[in-house]
Symmetry: C2
Subunit: 312 residues, 2 copies
């Protein structure tokens, strides 16, 4: 089975996994799960599985589906906290069903992940559980920084390592474990995943800063729209520029963030952040040379590069 077929099976597995008898849970879950999304984490899991020699992708479909459902659960709860109205080109659960059902749908998705992975044993579940704890910790640090209206460089890195890179690492590790990779290969692919996770989040933050909602498929610039006034870019020297909207910046009613965006865009902040993300990706790509040559390893390299070349 090739990757495309695995992704179709992933879609089916997610749809059937959330077939609750309770209409709102089933419908809201499918609404957000089947809306598309980039499926980066499942792709990472599948390719890591193949890169260590795994030859039956069907055996990786359920864990990959669980991982994507887990990521989606965090999105459902994020959209409550951020008052997001658009996600994966669709209205958020929050916007359609209201906060209570968005919260419960997120909980339902978490519970389903737990149920789906129960048969996979202690090793896989311990690794993934640790990542879930980290994702929540990262989201919490981010909410604290937003509330404080300030963010320093170590905190920014800590946030994106926890909230994004930890799950990328877990995805690659789980794939390598399922494919019976040697311990060193599991570690290596985990580190690769961690690096592209960092790069992915840096690019996400840049897109959130620059893109409009139509292009991004989700509510853009939310951190700033809520008066949090924080944007971040990672400098080429590894430093992080924290951009806090100055009080009293004149806002344009058609785009409340316009003045702030223009201010950021005048310097090279975004360019430097992009270069830093590219460096992380090139590091990750170089690591893969320690693995046997294969189509899967080539695909992992392409996946890494696509992370920094995307525009949504």
């Amino acid at each position: 089975m090739n990757l495309q077929t695995a992704l179709i099976m992933l879609h089916e597995k997610m749809a059937t996994a959330v077939s609750s008898e309770i209409d709102v849970l089933r419908e809201a879950s499918r609404h957000i799960l089947l809306a598309g999304g980039k499926r980066v984490r499942p792709r990472l899991l599948f390719l890591a599985y193949q890169a260590v020699g795994g030859d039956d992708l069907t055996s990786a479909v359920t864990p990959a589906a669980a991982l994507e459902i887990l990521h989606t659960a965090t999105l459902a709860h994020d959209d409550i906290n951020d008052h997001g109205v658009l996600r994966r080109d669709r209205p958020t659960i929050n916007a359609i069903w209201g906060r209570t059902f968005a919260l419960l749908t997120g909980d339902y998705l978490f519970a389903k992940v737990y149920e789906m992975l129960a048969p996979y044993g202690a090793g896989l579940n311990a690794a993934l559980a640790e990542a879930v704890v980290q994702v929540v910790e990262g989201e919490t640090l981010q909410a604290q920084a937003a509330k404080a209206g300030a963010l320093d460089e170590p905190t920014y890195y800590r946030i994106i390592a926890l909230k994004t890179a930890a799950l990328f690492r877990a995805a690659a590790r789980v794939g390598a474990q399922l494919g019976d990779g040697a311990p060193g290969q599991v570690e290596l692919l985990g580190d690769y995943g961690f690096k592209i996770g960092l790069a992915f989040q840096i690019i996400d933050d840049i897109l959130d800063l620059l893109a409009d909602s139509a292009q991004l498929g989700k509510s853009a610039g939310l951190d700033m729209a809520q008066g949090k006034g924080i944007a971040v870019a990672v400098g080429g020297d590894g430093s992080v520029a924290t951009m806090v909207a100055p009080a009293g910046v004149q806002v344009d009613e058609r785009d409340p963030l316009l003045a702030f965006k223009q201010q950021v865009l005048q310097g090279d902040t975004v360019g430097r952040a992009r270069r830093q993300a590219r460096r992380l990706v090139e590091d990750a790509v170089a690591m893969l040379d320690a693995l046997p040559l294969s189509e899967a390893v080539d695909a992992l390299k392409a996946l890494a590069r696509s992370v920094v070349e995307r525009d949504r």
Copy 2:
């Protein structure tokens, strides 16, 4: 080790389990976890463990702590949806730290449960995962009924079976599994747990209807205070009286629910509901006679009866 010592170890295990480096997660988690609570689910787990001959309660402490943390996670999220301000005699997380951190603390507690139970294998985790899914489904049905302002008998039973009795069943089953009970004993204790879970929730609903907050240690009468206007009592013949506050009932400012409560209290509705709960408990107690006589079985009988005799 006796039950009292196990409960002290439970307390310590819960405190250390949530020692996140992120202050708000650690503090909010301990705030709600260590506030007391009746610890009914852990007690049930410990006693089921002993009732099938388990002789080392220390081995049951982590699962019992995970189960109590799981229950507490659902409370943290409930308090968001219900706008509760008091829980276990303390202000809710919601009231102190706000909605975003209450939501994240609930997620953190769920993640910790997953992490704590990962080493316990597929059987235990599959059973518990199924219960978690059911709890969320029950909460969702309840929110739907509240929104609709109506509740019929089958739906009421379905709600309390899912949101409460499923986890009581899981607690008893997990205890019996950990104690190496025979499959028939695991089933029997699960059924016992399920019945006292139903009784527990019926009594909870009655207390919520009648008690004031000081006595209950949590915000009382919330379902009605939010204009949901629903209260439920189970009739002696197994029928369920749904009590919806009539539109236009005169409210007393000091107690907005007074008129409604008086209306319910005039009939025998509450008395009938109490009798139904007692019947469930007596059924559960009778089932235990199939187990070998032991102090633990006696304690399970006492636990069952305490469920319907409590006033908070």
